[in-house]
């Protein structure tokens, strides 16, 4: 009896499904390894560091429990940064989506030199954020910037506009540049989906007497729904986390008018050398995103 049991046990180990499972685990192992070392480890340390008061250059400090969180939640700056973050994300995302869909529709139609037009439109997305910001800062420049000059020349303004240094201009400029930089992502996704919509759907709608607008709302939009759900999700996460663009364009100013949470985290960590506070802010930020994301996903599923 025992021999049989042992035999069947070893048979189970050598069973095909077990071997396949092992192979599957082996294939995912590098991913898990990377996740653990470069994502989970920093994440855990962020949560851990958030409970200390830590001087960044030495990474030494003392246990303060939840004081960092208490201090943050009591500070106006955190809430203001959160509000800015929401305004920036909502603003730039809306522009990206609306503009992305419009341009995709445009590029989907028969256009002269369409390939060139597509490359030009997609280009802002390929462009390094650093380059994009520098070019825009040069365009926005008060003295030598072509944007101000155009407005002056057209008689729209009498004095050069202070695009980046005062509110609400700075936030508007930021949202605008963000939309310019990232709307091609929406174009790519929507364009891909548009190419997959069968022409029969449009023909059927036309036969049913639908006008151009009705065709758009009744045929195109429902077909884009799935794509847009994912695009909105991805772009929300990326926009919410955006650091480079804002840091380089306005640095969060004027005052803290365009300071979003990632910039606040940066300031805490490196300007004020408060790694503990920075980690706490980052953890809060993550929780907020998690909340939004789960809300969104549960909504989108309906």
């Amino acid at each position: 009896m025992p021999t049989i049991r042992a035999a069947s046990a070893s048979l189970r180990l050598r069973s095909l499904d077990a071997r396949y499972g092992l192979l599957g685990a082996l294939l995912i192992a590098p991913t898990v390894l990377v996740f653990c070392t470069v994502i989970v480890y920093p994440l855990v340390s962020a949560i851990y560091l958030g409970l200390f008061s830590i001087y960044t250059p030495t990474m030494e400090g003392e246990w303060v429990g939840l004081d960092n969180y208490r201090r943050l939640l009591a500070s106006g700056e955190f809430w203001r940064s959160l509000a800015n973050n929401l305004i920036w994300t909502a603003g730039t995302l809306t522009l990206q989506i609306v503009f992305g869909i419009l341009v995709a529709l445009m590029l989907h139609r028969n256009l002269a030199f369409r390939a060139l037009a597509r490359s030009l439109v997609l280009f802002p997305y390929f462009l390094s954020t650093v380059v994009a910001v520098l070019v825009w800062r040069w365009l926005f420049n008060d003295l030598y910037g072509v944007l101000n000059h155009l407005l002056l020349w057209a008689g729209i303004v009498d004095l050069p506009v202070d695009w980046l240094g005062s509110m609400p201009n700075a936030m508007i400029s930021l949202i605008f540049v963000g939309a310019w930089k990232y709307f091609p992502f929406v174009v790519i996704a929507v364009l891909a989906r548009l190419q997959a919509i069968p022409d029969e759907l449009y023909e059927a709608a036309s036969i049913d007497g639908a006008g151009a607008w009705a065709r758009f709302t009744d045929v195109t939009l429902p077909q884009l729904r799935d794509v847009l759900i994912v695009v909105v999700l991805l772009r929300t996460i990326w926009d919410f986390k955006e650091f480079d663009l804002i840091f380089l364009l306005t640095g969060g100013g004027p005052i803290i008018g365009t300071q979003t949470l990632p910039l606040m985290v940066y300031k805490e960590a490196f300007a004020l050398n408060q790694m503990g506070g920075a980690s706490a802010a980052a953890v809060l930020m993550m929780l907020i995103m998690l909340l939004f994301m789960s809300l969104y996903l549960s909504r989108a599923r309906d």
């Binding site: 960044t56 250059p57 990474m59 490196f270």
Partner: protein
């Protein structure tokens, strides 16, 4: 002192080392900087092409004298260094030598026990060769220097266009704020703005308001480092700062030193607040103004208040964790030597002013076109800077403020300016609020 911080991490790192070896192997593209026997890593925030050329000269000469030693120059920036140095310190992977950081940043790191005492270098250069008192700002603990100055900078000179003054009928340089405002107003027009001051949320604005507070006869902190900003003088300074807004280009709310400089150099503004780099930039980029620029100490509220010069005291320091301390000290001392140091000074004549009396009097230093042409301006800047102060050391009576770096980096002071100028809040309310915020940082 430091370095203990890594103790807890050693096993963790060892464990991770194995785990990540796979990734590293897969990456396999990067390599450690090529190792000679000894490598000295030198970071600086200042590396204009002219300066870089001077550094290269010094490095080549040093390497020639010290076979097996390689000096790697690595640039950093005013905006980037806090994060980069923080990471370097935290990771124990520090450069050997860091130059041109302002003295208040040095104080912060020294206070955290991250720097090696610099006195051996000062001794080997010869402490008597320095201008008297130049290194006082680094003597955070009595008798020990955290760093030494590599140059002096008079950051808040008032730069003037003599041609525009003449055209507007202004005979003498303004000495008070009222005169300055009037002069700017007279010179404004024909596409030229009267003044140029930074109103952005950056260190430039923070430093300018500190200058103005002192120009009003006030101070940010008392000699014993109690918060003293909530004063009438500071309110006057903010009022003055606000009153200058209409004379500055609209984009001044985004200006840092760079925009401030190019606005004046390009001829877009009639006056400017800057250090000596104006000289070299005017001569290379806009030579038609070269004959018409001069500088004076920045005006104060009235004749009773003497000018207060902001000197950010560009420094040299050695992190305590840096390897090859002996060779590093030798190289640090080398930076001050002979022709090399003079080349450094000549890279930006009038901007980095000599801290060595011997160099200032050296004929090789004086024998330079710009140094000759702007002899008066450079002399003025030199004396102003030598008597200069900054937020880390507001007056000779003041203790060294090790929190000055944090204060500047926090942006509190710049925010204060922006609240008054852009949001038009009441200076006294803003000051009271700012005083509280400074208090928090001082006590942190």
């Amino acid at each position: 002192m430091s370095g203990n911080s890594s103790k807890g991490g050693i096993t963790r790192r060892a464990a991770l080392r194995g785990a990540l070896a796979l990734c590293a192997g897969a990456g396999g593209l990067g390599s450690l900087p090529a190792r000679a026997n000894t490598t000295i890593r030198w970071w600086s925030t200042q590396s204009s092409p002219e300066q870089l050329a001077a550094y290269r000269f010094q490095i080549a000469a040093f390497e020639a004298q010290h076979p097996g030693v390689q000096v790697l120059f690595e640039r950093t920036s005013d905006e980037g260094y806090p994060a980069q140095l923080a990471a370097a310190f935290a990771g124990g992977n520090v450069p050997n030598l860091v130059t041109h950081l302002p003295s208040f940043a040095v104080a912060d790191y020294w206070h955290a026990g991250l720097l090696a005492p610099f006195d051996p270098v000062i001794e080997s250069v010869g402490s008597d060769r320095f201008f008297a008192g130049t290194n006082r700002v680094y003597e955070i603990e009595p008798g020990v220097h955290a760093a030494a100055g590599i140059g002096n900078t008079a950051a808040n000179m008032l730069w003037l266009r003599t041609d525009l003054m003449q055209r507007a009928g202004i005979e003498s340089a303004p000495e008070t704020w009222d005169e300055l405002r009037a002069a700017c107003r007279q010179m404004q027009g024909r596409g030229i703005y009267g003044a140029q001051l930074p109103y952005a949320r950056n260190s430039a604005t923070s430093l300018v308001i500190v200058c103005f507070i002192h120009g009003a006869g006030g101070q940010v902190l008392s000699p014993d480092l109690d918060v003293a900003i909530d004063s009438d003088e500071a309110a006057d300074a903010l009022e003055f700062y606000r009153s200058m807004r209409e004379l500055c280009p609209p984009g001044a709310t985004g200006y840092s030193w760079g925009e401030t400089l190019s606005a004046f150099v390009s001829g877009a503004t009639a006056t400017g607040l800057y250090a000596g780099r104006v000289l070299v930039n005017v001569n290379t980029r806009n030579p038609r103004l070269a004959e018409h620029v001069t500088c004076v100490p920045f005006p104060t509220v009235s004749a009773e208040v003497p000018p207060w010069t902001f000197n950010d005291y560009p420094s040299v320091f050695i992190p305590a964790d840096a390897p090859d301390q002996e060779m590093t000290r030798r190289f640090a001392a080398w930076l001050y030597e002979g022709e090399g140091y003079i080349r450094q000074l000549h890279a930006t004549p009038g901007h980095i002013l000599p801290v060595l009396q011997t160099a200032a009097e050296d004929e090789r230093y004086l024998d330079h076109e710009l140094v000759r042409r702007y002899r008066d301006e450079i002399a003025l800047m030199s004396t102003s800077a030598a008597a200069g102060h900054n937020l880390g050391w507001e007056s000779p009576e003041h203790r060294i403020n090790v929190k000055a770096g944090a204060l500047v980096n926090s942006g509190i002071l710049a925010e204060m300016v922006q609240r008054v100028v852009l949001n038009e809040e009441q200076p006294r309310t803003v000051l009271a609020d700012t005083a509280r915020r400074i208090e928090t940082i001082m006590n942190a």
